[in-house]
């Protein structure tokens, strides 16, 4: 009888131990890794300019107004700037492609460079749009550096155009094409999040870390 009881206790203990082991095991390999890419301002100068398109005024920001304007001179270089981070520990987490997305014609051409982020499996994560910008090396594909801790990187993707669309003077108008780029913009000294009033936003240095678009995705590893 005692032997039976001991065997029962042993079986129960083994089951309990197995359960405890399962509950505390690090099972992330079977679950998902997280991949993040932040996109930063691509302008060349230290001053931001609001109000070009009537979307940079208090009260006029809505959920889809992700664009911001950066002053620049004719022919200024425009950069894709990003920081990549992933829990898998790989150093490349996808690619970007430089795309000529210009519209219009002749002297009223609206120059537009779009940069499309893709996962290693080719899934489009949508684009960042650089308006009033002629593409630099359209069609080029670049690896997106990443790491366990953030890896920052930049590459030139365009050149600013004066009198763009026959209308706009020099400036970069930058934003997302799709709302699955998460906009996390909190401007210092503004009266509300996303309200980019003139005084709060004209200082590039102070808004560098406050204006960003972030794309997050999950996969079991590449």
């Amino acid at each position: 009888m005692k032997r039976m009881t001991l065997m029962g206790v042993a079986i129960l203990s083994a089951a309990a131990g197995l359960l405890a082991g399962l509950l505390t095991a690090d099972t992330s390999y079977a679950a998902t890794h997280t991949y993040k890419v932040w996109n930063w301002p691509g302008g060349p100068t230290a001053q931001m300019n609001c109000g070009w398109h009537q979307v940079c005024l208090p009260g006029q920001y809505g959920p889809d107004y992700s664009f911001i304007d950066w002053s620049s001179a004719t022919g200024s270089h425009i950069f894709w700037r990003s920081t990549g981070e992933n829990t898998q520990g790989i150093s490349v987490t996808g690619t970007i492609t430089v795309i000529n997305a210009s519209s219009g014609s002749g002297s009223t051409t609206c120059h537009r460079t779009e940069v499309e982020l893709k996962t290693p499996l080719g899934t489009s994560l949508q684009r960042i749009r650089y308006s009033h910008t002629s593409p630099f090396s359209a069609g080029s594909v670049y690896n997106v550096p990443s790491g366990l801790s953030g890896v920052s990187w930049q590459t030139r993707v365009g050149t600013t155009v004066d009198w763009d669309c026959g209308v706009y003077r020099n400036h970069l108008h930058q934003g997302r094409t799709h709302t699955n780029w998460e906009k996390t913009t909190v401007f210092p000294n503004s009266d509300a999040p996303d309200n980019c009033n003139w005084d709060a936003c004209r200082n590039y240095a102070s808004v560098w870390t406050h204006w960003q678009h972030k794309r997050t995705w999950w996969a079991s590893g590449y």
């Binding site: 206790v9 014609s105 290693p120």
Partner: protein, 247 residues
Amino acid sequence: VLLGAVAAAVLIPAATGFLVARVFFSDSATASDRVPPEGGTLTGILPPGPDVTPEPGSTPDRSRPYWHIPYENQERMAPKFRGELAGLLIGQEPPDAHDEARRCPGAVIETSPNAMRESWFPLTLSGLPDGVQVKATTVATCDDGRPLWIEVDLEIAPGTAGAGAQGGTINVWRAPGVRWWLNEGSTERWSEGEIEGRPVALLDEIVEGIGDAAIIVVDEETGGSTRVWGSGASLALLQQVAEAMYE
């Protein structure tokens, strides 16, 4: 003795079970993959170089990381279409594209939905396919009163039929007097067709889910055209959007 036997009966199986679970259900074996890159050393699977193209006759293996790069390389190296399709000039401009008469010294840009509805040739946006919604509209009019263009940005929700897994975007651009597009698509991606009785030029994706697709519709009303240009959107989905805009 009994106490020892009970303790052994509890502790040994419990510890064994715990260890078994940790060994077989933990990913400690891949811990080395988590070492951060040092001194610029690259880790993980890296994309193929810019000269790598698909093996002739091969089909895409979408389970392999960076499977799409050879197809994009192939497209980049392929001859580009230069010529006329459906009465539209593709890949080049007409000689008068930059004539003085086409220029506009100043313009008014309006972004309200009302401006679109009241424009010279408004795009119909009421019958768009499920999952496709308007993100922004623009109407540009020259200071001398000439219409320049109207534009609509559409967003495609993830999971929409005919779109990428993460959704996509569509840009619709309509202009009078413009029947050309300086696109760099390869010859084999272009074809002609018809939508709602109108001639159209069609640009297909490079392979499904990779590369843009587009439809350019000839507008007899304005002597111009309307371009429906999608990213993460199949040609079939763009066709539904184009049809909705001309109903």
